[in-house]
Symmetry: C2
Amino acid sequence: MADVAKHAGVAPMTVSRALHDDPRVSPSTRVKVLASVAALGYRRNEVARSLRAGQSSDLLGLVVTNLANPFYAQLALGVESFAAEHGMTMVLGNTAEDPGREKELVNNLVSRRVSGIIVVPAGSDHSHLRPSGLDGMPVVLAARPPSRAELDCVLVDDFGGALAAARVLTGAGHRRIGFLGPLPGLWTSAERFRGFCTALAEAGLAVDEQNVRFGLRDVPAAEHAARELLHLADPPTALFAANNRSTIGAVRAITGARPRTALAGFDDFELADMLGLPLTVAAYDPAEIGMQAARLLIDRIDRIERAGNDTPPQRVVVPTTLTHYGQA
Amino acid sequence: MADVAKHAGVAPMTVSRALHDDPRVSPSTRVKVLASVAALGYRRNEVARSLRAGQSSDLLGLVVTNLANPFYAQLALGVESFAAEHGMTMVLGNTAEDPGREKELVNNLVSRRVSGIIVVPAGSDHSHLRPSGLDGMPVVLAARPPSRAELDCVLVDDFGGALAAARVLTGAGHRRIGFLGPLPGLWTSAERFRGFCTALAEAGLAVDEQNVRFGLRDVPAAEHAARELLHLADPPTALFAANNRSTIGAVRAITGARPRTALAGFDDFELADMLGLPLTVAAYDPAEIGMQAARLLIDRIDRIERAGNDTPPQRVVVPTTLTHYGQA
DNA sequence: CTGTTAGCGCATTCAG
DNA sequence: CTGAATGCGCTAACAG
């Protein structure tokens, strides 16, 4: 900056002002400065810029549990696009569902003085995400609600979506319906199970524990569990799968099995219509979650900057829509 | 830091040293300092830290063209995991294939003084990515090679993979084979087309322009183009699709068509085995590209820090393997 | 082993 | 409208 100032024959301060579109600098001076900037290929140092106290870094942190899952990739895209629209840059970390790693990443982001953080929390206790312990850094939770901490969050209508999808099965007259899902400790998983149970109860059906399988982390695990259910003495005539991993596993197990088992699930996925079997899914847009989370976060950041951060935590729920796929 | 120093009864410099595991600080002092750090909940300001000249920010920039594509999400995961292993944090931007946006993002990253940048370039002229114009910032290209600039890069064996996959079709006796691909301006696309042409030439076949469709940006476009080919007076008996979007479009067009058209493609994708038609794909691991790119970049960064950045640009090629899927 | 000095690049504050 | 002084938080380099 000093070089530019010398080149333009002004003081560094004037260069700074010209770069800020400060109206107090005369047009002629501004032109001179900008010419020098171009001539010298000068680029403002954002690090120094954000060192100045209270300055926002215009960085937005995102911590997800598993980028390999298209769901989180889409979510990240939603965050990135909203952030970019607002002049912010996204810093991304992956926890692999490890709460320890999550803590590391969040600390790292706080140390870098990002403006705020969006977290898909890995554990069930989120007390370490309270802004009070994070130098006041605002935090928004995505996909999973806060526990032991009051935070903004964006959720999917897990209960409602599961209820609606499961109702399709009960409505079709099925009376023995199996459940496949990931770890029951995950809030989303528990909510979807609750929706499933409610649909059964509405139809006057009891949930048979024998037909319920949790802890299915990936497609092979889900496929294996689904096959087990289908080989029971009195197998379910329909399956409900609580996420796209489970649904795909179920599809693999069901395909070719006799008699054909009905299937409904949570999460849409590509090629769902090409699998040669009827399928109902509770669908929603993962990018929407990311965008909403970014919106909440940026709102909160603005409010903090205006020193009026007294709003209570917000909770946004993204709705689901039921999609039916027929046979290919 | 001053507060910690006061609390511990030492000078700020000593705190700094204790936090760095500087061996010159006595164990007793270190303990005292660390206790104060814990007591006050102190967190070092990484912004100030990296303001010091020449200091690396331990940030690694990644600029991709389309995060919504699982390919790039996996690539990002590869970068993130390698970076994290080396104590670096990833900053991610999405260009949506817009070269202007790419320039913005790269400039932004340079301004933030990241340690280096990995770019999946959107345009065909990469002269703006030369480190010389970027304050010496090292750049590694991923998935597409540099033009008008000497840069490290990581590529897929586009030619070889396409050749092998197309040979499966010619080897099966097909003599009229259609080609579906994205914009021919993309290097990957051009290379895959070259592989396709080579396979045909080996079999003594000419490439019929009528059977070649480029510019297919998404699945619907690919499906539409594939249907057009299948409705020609003398339709191809096999199709070669140059990426997973094209392949999926082709699958949609072929399914249910009579007579059944053979299909081979570039890129593996989930559920490829469940589509009820035989399919051969040239597969590879997208995360591997990200990891290799991060490795090249970190190598280069290390070399620059040791002031020995005289190595010529490296080029790493990730191999493909042929995968055959039968009928479901 | 510990402390002091100085400065990274920028922008706020106050003087011209 | 422009400039000079000052400090953000940290750490090399040099004393003690």
